[in-house]
Subunit: 240 residues, 6 copies
């Protein structure tokens, strides 16, 4: 059961409303890496989760993201406020969907007006995989908030965004520790082991040299257990 309290998790203020920045902020309201996506991904993982301790954790964070949704929505709405005055033509042009269709209020669309879709979510019902999905999701949200902070000159907007950005790192830590505490091997997913014959072969499928670079080596294809297979499309894959 949910309860709502009529306070924001972080008070937001805006010095100088910028409708076009408001449109950008919608990315974190109704966009692929935004707060609704986070809230739904974690809460539904939580609903499906059979591990009681981590289920609690997923519900904690899923719920916090709903509170973030309110914060970013309120901030976006303040920046979009000039759209309500339809005689302010430049403001209204900034986002016709919100100005004309939404009356200047926020909606679940991203910075380009695309409607939020559950296709953004990554939910597999395999706890360790879902925790990796969440770590990645928090990384994405962090960098998007950072770019929003870098973009705006409004110090009050920066402050709220800094709070939200910080919490993404908090959640990244939580999910990482929850993953580690499962005690699974680093590349252990599910129960069926990979085939020895193929698992350590690095296929060098992109070769040559040109505008797009040239072949390179690194710990991800050289040394250790790696066996590098050059041009498999042409040489064929020996052993089949």
């Amino acid at each position: 059961m949910y309860h709502h309290v009529k306070k924001l998790m972080y008070t937001v203020r805006v010095g100088d409303p910028d409708p076009r920045f408001g449109k950008m902020l919608l990315e974190q309201f109704g966009g692929a890496n935004g707060e609704l996506a986070a809230a739904m991904q974690y809460s539904i993982q939580g609903l499906n989760c059979d591990d009681p301790a981590r289920k609690d954790m997923l519900m904690d964070i899923g719920t916090e993201e709903l509170s973030h949704l309110e914060v970013i929505g309120t901030l976006a709405r303040m920046h979009l406020a000039p759209l309500k005055n339809l005689k302010n033509k430049e403001a209204a042009y900034a986002d016709p969907l919100i100005a004309i269709c939404g009356g200047g209020g926020v909606s679940l669309n991203n910075s380009q007006g695309n409607p939020w879709t559950a296709d953004y979510l990554k939910i597999t019902g395999e706890l360790d995989v879902d925790l990796r999905n969440n770590i990645a999701a928090e990384g994405r949200a962090k960098i998007v908030y950072e770019r929003l902070i870098d973009f705006t000159d409004d110090s009050q907007s920066k402050e709220a965004l800094q709070f939200l950005m910080t919490r993404e790192i908090t959640h990244m830590k939580v999910f990482s520790m929850a993953l580690e505490s499962l005690g699974k091997g680093k590349f252990e997913v599910g129960k069926i082991p990979p085939s020895e014959e193929w698992v350590n072969k690095y296929f060098n499928d992109s070769t040559g040299e040109g505008e797009l670079g040239k072949d390179a080596t690194g710990p991800w294809n050289t040394g250790g257990d790696w066996e590098k297979v050059d041009n498999p499309a042409f040489k064929g894959l020996g052993g089949k």
Copy 2:
């Protein structure tokens, strides 16, 4: 530039075609965690990448996933073959979109007929974040292949799926090593540091006890630097 060789990366054979299993296999052809999603995610990250060594790696794996797309597509097509005979009604009912609209051939839809969409992709242009996206993506693909293997009794199908599943673990290793080699801190994303005031607070936003469990503790909310804040919605967040 791309080149195609008229051989499959892994030869596929099917003992007993099962059109409903064929429909499931489409999940890895035109679904959210399937081979086209992988091919596009890595190849476009590669196109955008300014780090020449990891750009090469992204192109290698992106290209390999295109070859996987052919393998899973061929396997799905073999299982869907009975749909071509429209008098085989049960087969045709299994996937009307493919039977009636597609003439029994594979298409870029998932196991429920939803069209593939770029909303499945996670591309941020921040290399470490993208590598985490890819590690998570490989985990998802691994577990989906495992479930397909667990589902079918056809040993030849299992064999091809085992190959594809193995390669996901290979790629997971590659992306992990590429991430580690960047030398970034575990929770270091972008350049703006999180706020000290908020980063180590765990918000206990889901409390009580009932059908949905009860409060739990673990390394993700207790010990270390963690400060646990119970019921922030009611207590307010001190310090603001």
Copy 3:
């Protein structure tokens, strides 16, 4: 700010799990008229609302719908439980997206597997219009729950659905009373009055008699202020 309590708003039990009914139940979890759609429509209207009293009401109901989302999600999950055993082939065939891709857990898809989309929402930022949207939405949700009750023979499922269905009527009352209390005319929307010349003309654009019926009259086109214009496409619209 949101808070979550680990109890369901209505305890759900299932006598005999039916995966295909579970798939139907997803319609109210991740479908067009389902609980997430309701929660988001009302909560975002609330976020945008400048009328403090009705804003409170919108937040009350928006929050309750989040609790309903948990109830229907838990019920669906119980019916979908057999999908977790992939050797139970018929169960797994019932919804391959959930069986193979979701590991048997619920996801934000409707009864046909379509991902939830914000295109389902009707939010205009005009309070009386939004209240009408909500009255209509509650009517839709009511009839969908009624059909689910009519469909299933499982008495425990019926009980939970009856609770959820009842609450839709409650909300319909709330929204109707909130609309009435605005004191607006029945056909008064916005500020610009309709043109006298056109507002009371009923255009009889579909004529003739055949498999699709024949012309009919009723209080919606005859009597009162109505002026009936037959065949406007052919006669032209006098006065222009």
Copy 4:
């Protein structure tokens, strides 16, 4: 069967084409509350309707909306005309999808370029519910036209929009009278009555006081049959 006459239902002229306003107008051509949505919602309800008199009415209005689609499409096309001259760069930037991909002609996209989708439609096959859907739909269309009128300074555009806006009120009246003539109770939907135990309880799920307001009372939660339940998430729901 349909027939088309090569005249517009309302002659449109444009004084000063404004491509960015043309883009806004697309909201009523290919948008969520636009004329195609109206035409399809009513016509398909009509096709499904078993009540012969109201089926006739649904077909009348569904057909009229197709004529409106032509009117708004023609108006939008006139405002978008400068996009045809690709050397008029600012015009072409206004909507690259229409300029580059559509050659300057209208397409079934909304004001942000999103493709029209049947997800916009609300069709339930329950006549009274569908009539409520239509009343709400007309309210939305009315307010969108009003905003377009408020936005533009072009008097000829205003005139055509005024015609279209007026007809929405006409339709709202028609649908309301058709609903009333069904003689159903105000909160009577379908056949299964709501549970007495729950139907008159108002759940006060959003409490406290802050930036988001404070608790309020009104006829929608106080007086009459209402029983107000405060904080149900915490108190539990007595009687279960």
Copy 5:
């Protein structure tokens, strides 16, 4: 302006309703190559068309397709009729979206339940290109109707589908003749000529021999003006 006559363009009857076939028929109602797609593609091309004679033709056919939409919708509805009885469980399982959410009536979804989207349309505003789009569209619709005819054993359904299928060939002829009458060269599109250096080179980008076949020649890559370039990815493209 549109007018509707309450007769079907082709009377439909159904001997033995088959809900699963009804679901297939939806492909031509709300699917990618169905009647709404045809109606919208041609009518909007017509609305945009500056060539008065072909504009008339586009409106003729666009309007006819609206009449087809009614025919196929009525046929689908007859086959879906058993879904209205929710106690007929197998029927209701056949398409839960239509049974539960739509009350057994047709909706603008395809055979897999995907909502109709304007992404299906091909409208470029270049008359000859649009006519080619339409020729291709008619070919698709023809083959889909043929498959539906091949699938069903119901002779009355076959008859109506035969009518609809025949009209696609009629339209294919119309569009072809309209294209020919433009007098454009066979490969003449737009105004900018292709570069002589590249236009007659056939790139042999797929080579080798295996499960996927082997290199082949035909009039499309050999003889005439063709110059075959083998393995351009490896040899490079001389002359750059």
Copy 6:
């Protein structure tokens, strides 16, 4: 199996980056008629194709389109480069999705930010129909490239676009010749012949005279085998 070579098929350079033109270019990267759409349409047709010679041809061109995807992606990225500097506000406003969410790199969205979807593809599994789909697709791509060339003043961008445009004509020739070599009648699709009774009737469904033109004749409705049926909706279709 695929192989990638780190060279572009056509070297691209940009004199003066124009982010808004970069956004337009995305139409051919992630848009409906863009290079991914072409690559997928032909490659999947090839995968499904049972005619070995034309299968080879489909794979050749499908593969070439992947190389084009790289070329247009690289060109778009160069024009979008200013978006990476978030302090260049006007540049960042040009496409917030790419600036904020994508870090300035290209993504599979079209010129309005819509995500690429498989709904763009036309794949029927009927070879002659698919070849017509491809001829039409090449026509669309040609005209879009022409418009992009007409729009920009940057000569280096023009040059690369001219190469890509030329190749569309090449492919149009290939598909046309492949279709002709099948030796099918011009209006011969599938196996079931059209009904003699209906195939040569032209339905004059749009009549009258007004802003939308007037009735016209041409070889597509007059002469030859044509029988013109005026106003079928009103006269009825004799013979039924």
